[in-house]
């Protein structure tokens, strides 16, 4: 895999000029898959769901849950409304892949959403896009308008009797509205407070009705699976986490950007070859592999590790959104960790006590260390606080805030202690 990555033909963001235009997309086989699914008797909703389940398409929003399995949790239709909510709120620092889809291949996502809504007998799709993506919201809205004009959205698509309406909703700048139940509250026009589970969205989601929530990239994979079959999909990358991945590489590399490559790429290859190595020929120091909340890896921990769920778990971290933040030897880990805690402090919705108060306390302690007033006992207090926060809240934001603190301190303990000892010296 690593050898022939240069030969890989991208399928999520294909190298076809102007594919974002509906005519170009249609010339290249666009909307043929949904047409085929709707028109042939062979493609029952169950068969579509089973095909996606068999492909082992892992959710690309961070949690990595089998998408087809998630679809199968929807209860039998009872005549009432059911919803598909597509999550385009990508707010995790280091993650910027979905906006490429909105910009370069929006129709493949729309087609994927259509197939998903057929599979789950859904006729309303809500697409939630973060408010900061103003330009991308406009671009995507244009794609939706075009699809309506051609009759791919709206009533009685391809004369099949299947109707789907798609609504685009803009967020207003809150990370927590990317959490699936927080997003549902926001879609309902409420404050983005995550809901307690159970009930799960498939039982009681938007407006109390069965709802499935999928990531934008996840749904963009769906037409490919139905068109080429689950076996084709499973052959891309390792078995535990197959398919094409949009790697968002940022940080101290020469060529940062979103790269579509098979799952399971070696970290080393991604940094040194795909992103053209560390800026200024510096040494590689650390990597956050899947967005700010995933545990950081030291350079030595990245040896032989590939970007797929199993390999990363063995290395002591998570796949997340594959938003890789690369750091060179000059990086100050105290500064990095303070910046991450600042983010989670700012973004905690404030509903649950441990997260509301804990995120603030974490940041204030790191601020103290960063300003040179830290003591070694503060490090132990920080670690203590992470255990007091983890697993004690309604949603996973407290976990997301606690993991980086615990792992960055544990994996760069010397650097943190050094900073604190300077204080002790200065105080003496």
């Amino acid at each position: 895999m690593a050898q022939d990555w240069k030969d890989y033909e991208p399928v999520l963001l294909p190298n076809i000029p102007d594919i974002h235009k509906i005519d170009v997309y249609m010339e290249n086989g666009g909307y043929e898959t949904i047409k085929n699914v709707l028109e042939s008797d062979e493609w029952t909703p169950e068969k579509v769901t089973n095909e996606v389940k068999a492909a082992n398409l892992k959710g690309r929003g961070g949690a990595g849950f089998n998408a087809g399995l998630k679809w199968s949790f929807m209860p039998e239709p009872d005549g009432g409304p059911r919803y598909l909510a597509a999550n385009g709120d990508e707010s995790e620092p280091g993650t910027f892949k979905d906006r490429k889809i909105f910009e370069y291949n929006p129709h493949q996502f729309i087609e994927g959403a259509l197939i998903a809504s057929y599979a789950m007998t859904i006729d309303v799709v809500h697409v939630y896009i973060r408010g900061e993506y103003k330009s991308w919201i406009d671009m995507f809205q244009k794609a939706v308008d075009d699809a309506y004009e051609k009759g791919f959205l709206g009533k009685n698509i391809f004369g099949s009797g299947h109707s789907v309406d798609m609504y685009v909703t803009s967020g207003a700048g809150a990370y927590i509205c990317g959490e699936e139940t927080g997003m549902m509250e926001s879609l309902e026009g409420k404050r983005g407070y995550p809901r307690t589970k159970p009930p799960f969205p498939a039982q009681k989601g938007l407006w109390g009705r069965p709802t499935t929530i999928n990531n934008i990239e996840t749904l963009t994979n769906v037409p490919l699976i139905i068109k080429n079959g689950s076996d084709w999909f499973k052959n891309i990358g390792p078995d535990d986490h197959p398919g094409p991945i949009l790697y968002g590489i940022s940080g101290h590399v020469n060529k940062p950007g979103v790269y579509e490559l098979p799952s399971g790429m070696p970290i080393k290859t991604l940094i040194e070859e795909v992103a053209d190595g560390i800026r200024g020929g510096k040494k590689f120091k650390a990597l956050i592999p899947g967005g700010a909340s995933t545990p950081v890896l030291r350079a030595d921990m990245c040896e032989g590790v590939t970007m797929n769920a199993d390999s990363l778990r063995e290395a002591g971290t998570l796949m997340g959104t594959a938003g890789m933040v690369v750091m060179d030897e000059d990086t100050d880990m105290v500064e990095v960790l303070w910046r991450i805690t600042h983010f989670f402090h700012h973004e905690s919705c404030g509903q649950c006590t441990p997260c509301r108060e804990g995120t603030g306390w974490l940041e204030k302690l790191l601020l103290k260390i960063r300003e040179g007033r830290g003591e070694v006992k503060d490090l132990d207090l920080l670690l203590d606080l992470t255990t007091q926060m983890e697993g004690r809240t309604i949603c996973a934001l407290a976990d997301a805030a606690a993991w980086p603190v615990r792992n960055t301190i544990n994996r760069f303990r010397d650097e943190f202690e050094q900073r604190c000892k300077k204080t002790a010296h200065a105080l003496a």
Binding site: R356, E357, G360
Partner: protein, 580 residues
């Protein structure tokens, strides 16, 4: 029947109760803040965490799986669970802070978090003494604080509305107030603004929290964040004594508590009564405390000439009353009871004049159309309209009463505590001709126009019963002393810390707040004695016993029964109640 094991003890249950409520119902204690039995469960304070497990059952046989030692196998949940939001299931195993170190630790951790940004101002905080955060910190909290950095600062002394003041720094964001405005009063006037540790409750810009039930948020606030603008800084909780009573400002008759210090009622709060008002009461009812303290009739008033009244002695008042009655025939006496007075007061009035020879005792309901809201406010502005009806007092309209007075047939009017002139039933000149005797608690336009005013005890000074709009009879307890009662001799009166440990020489003790008045039954007993009429009641308890023996609607109703239950439902048959 399902079973659950809490701290090693087996309990049976049916249905799908929530774990926290089940434990509270069974006298088990778990600390909590955001949970309220009458509102939705947000599980946001994360305080009521317990260790939760499930005995494993064989899927096919439904029997518990046993390990090699014959013990049941427990599968523990990986995380601590909030008991408030946990739905109980058969074979569930629960360890609270009593038996699980982990649960105790989790609760302590959450309390530590709650306290880091909470100001340490208990010594000047109104909530101190009745503060769930204070109490639970004593019981379950950490010994000290590890928080050595700057606390978050938020708005203080925010006037959320005309009656509620917010100190956002004390707020622990339990959202009880927001949920109250959304789910109970449905005014939707409150929300949480801002994010994370900066958030606090607020109204929309330019909106004011003028919900007619706004002060309930002060009661349910688990800290001192929301305080009553009127009551704040007036008294420490432990200095007051708490006496159960009834809201007398409308027909619903919410169950309330009177809070007294040195014979002044300082505040009124709702008392839980699932049959009437649940945990709530309207703001208007809380304002009634002023009626009990201010503008009271103290010592009888006698009109000598013109409009001038002068204070007179009880002996002279009784003598005058007796002489006026003796000088007139019973047909010349108009007796008016009152929906604002208790069952016992109306009964003694009716009975006294029956013996004297007056057949009918009248009353005029106090209705303000559209004042009700279908919740706890009613069109009926009086607490005992149905009590008058059940005692078979004659229900009169404004016009009929006005006409009766202007007919000139009546030379004497005896009126029980009802401001008929003030509430526009009668014109101010209606009392010009007859000799008017008012038995009243407060000075009003009506007492001013009366020839003789007899001061009687108000609901805060006597034990008496009232029948609400739905026919439920409840009763009051004496909460403040009169000139002639003594808290230490009256076993029904509650004693606060000051009453119990203070002496008459303490500087907070004054005699000024004691009103010179008598219960109506005591006054009529004395009057009967003077006039040689057979009528002797020592207290209201005996009156109700006589009522339950003689008036069918009150059959078997006693103070004991009212106290044991949430009041007693009387048969409120429209046929029976409506007077022909």
């Amino acid at each position: 029947m399902s079973e659950i094991f809490i701290d090693g003890k087996r309990y049976e249950f049916e249905g799908k109760p929530k774990l926290l409520q089940f434990m509270l119902d069974h006298g088990l204690e778990v600390p909590f803040f955001c949970y309220h039995p009458s509102m939705s469960i947000p599980a946001n304070c994360r305080q009521c965490m317990v260790k939760l497990g499930q005995y494993q059952k064989d899927r096919e046989t439904g029997e518990y799986e046993l390990d090699d030692d014959g013990e049941r196998q427990i599968r523990w949940f990986p995380k601590m669970m909030t008991s408030c939001s946990t739905t109980m299931s058969d074979g569930m195993v629960v360890q609270t802070q009593e038996t699980s170190e982990e649960a105790a630790r989790a609760q302590k951790d959450t309390l530590e978090f709650i306290l880091i940004n909470h100001p340490l101002d208990c010594p000047i905080c109104d909530q101190a003494g009745e503060c769930p955060l204070q109490i639970q910190t004593y019981k379950y909290g950490p010994e000290g604080s590890r928080f050595e950095v700057q606390k978050v600062h938020k708005p203080k002394r925010v006037q959320l509305g005309p009656r509620v003041t917010l100190d956002a720094e004390r707020c622990i964001n339990c959202t009880r107030c927001v949920r109250f405005a959304d789910e109970i009063s449905k005014s939707h006037q409150l929300t949480i603004v801002s994010r994370g540790d900066k958030n606090y409750p607020a109204t929309s810009p330019d909106e004011t929290f003028d919900d007619p039930y706004s002060l309930n948020t002060v009661d349910i606030c688990p800290v001192g964040a929301l305080t009553s603008t009127d009551f704040r800084f007036k008294a420490r909780v432990w200095e007051m004594n708490q006496t159960p009573s009834i809201d007398i400002t409308n027909g619903k008759g919410c169950s309330v508590d009177f809070w007294t210090r040195d014979n002044l009622i300082l505040r009124i709060t709702p008392r839980h009564n699932p049959e009437i008002n649940d945990y709530w009461m309207p703001d208007a009812g809380r304002d009634a405390y002023k009626l009990f303290n201010e503008n009271r009739v103290s010592r009888p008033d006698l009109k000598l000439d013109g409009d001038n009244q002068t204070k007179t002695s009880w002996n002279n008042a009784i003598q005058t009353f007796a002489e006026v009655l003796e000088a007139h025939k019973p047909e010349e006496v108009l007796v008016i009871g009152s929906p604002h007075a208790s069952v016992e007061e109306n009964y003694i009035l009716q009975k006294f004049f029956n013996v004297f020879g007056v057949s009918d005792t009248n009353f005029v309901p106090h209705i303000v159309p559209d004042a009700g809201d279908g919740f706890l406010l009613t069109d009926d502005q009086a607490p005992n309209t149905n009590g008058c009806r059940l005692l078979k007092l004659q229900e009169q309209s404004d016009a009929v009463l006005q006409q009766a007075l202007s007919s000139g047939d009546y030379k004497v009017v005896v009126l029980l505590n009802d401001d008929l002139i003030g509430r526009d039933v009668l014109n101010s000149d209606a009392f010009d001709a007859p000799f008017v005797i008012s038995l009243a608690t407060n000075n009003t336009a009506t007492t001013k126009a009366s020839d003789l005013v007899i001061p009687i005890t108000c609901i805060a000074e006597h034990a008496a019963s009232y029948v609400n709009i739905d026919g439920r009879i409840q009763r009051s307890y004496p909460a403040k002393e009169t000139k002639y009662t003594n808290r230490r001799l009256n076993l029904e009166m509650s004693e606060g810390r000051l009453d119990r440990f203070g002496t008459n020489f303490d500087n907070w003790v004054t005699e000024d707040n004691k009103v010179d008045c008598l219960p109506a039954w005591e006054f009529f007993s004395r009057l009967a004695d003077r006039m040689g009429i057979e009528l002797e009641f020592e207290n209201s308890r005996d009156i109700l016993i006589e009522i339950n023996e003689t008036v069918p609607a009150f059959k078997d109703v006693t103070y004991e029964r009212i106290d044991e239950e949430y009041g007693v439902q009387l048969p409120l048959n429209q046929e029976e109640v409506k007077q022909a």
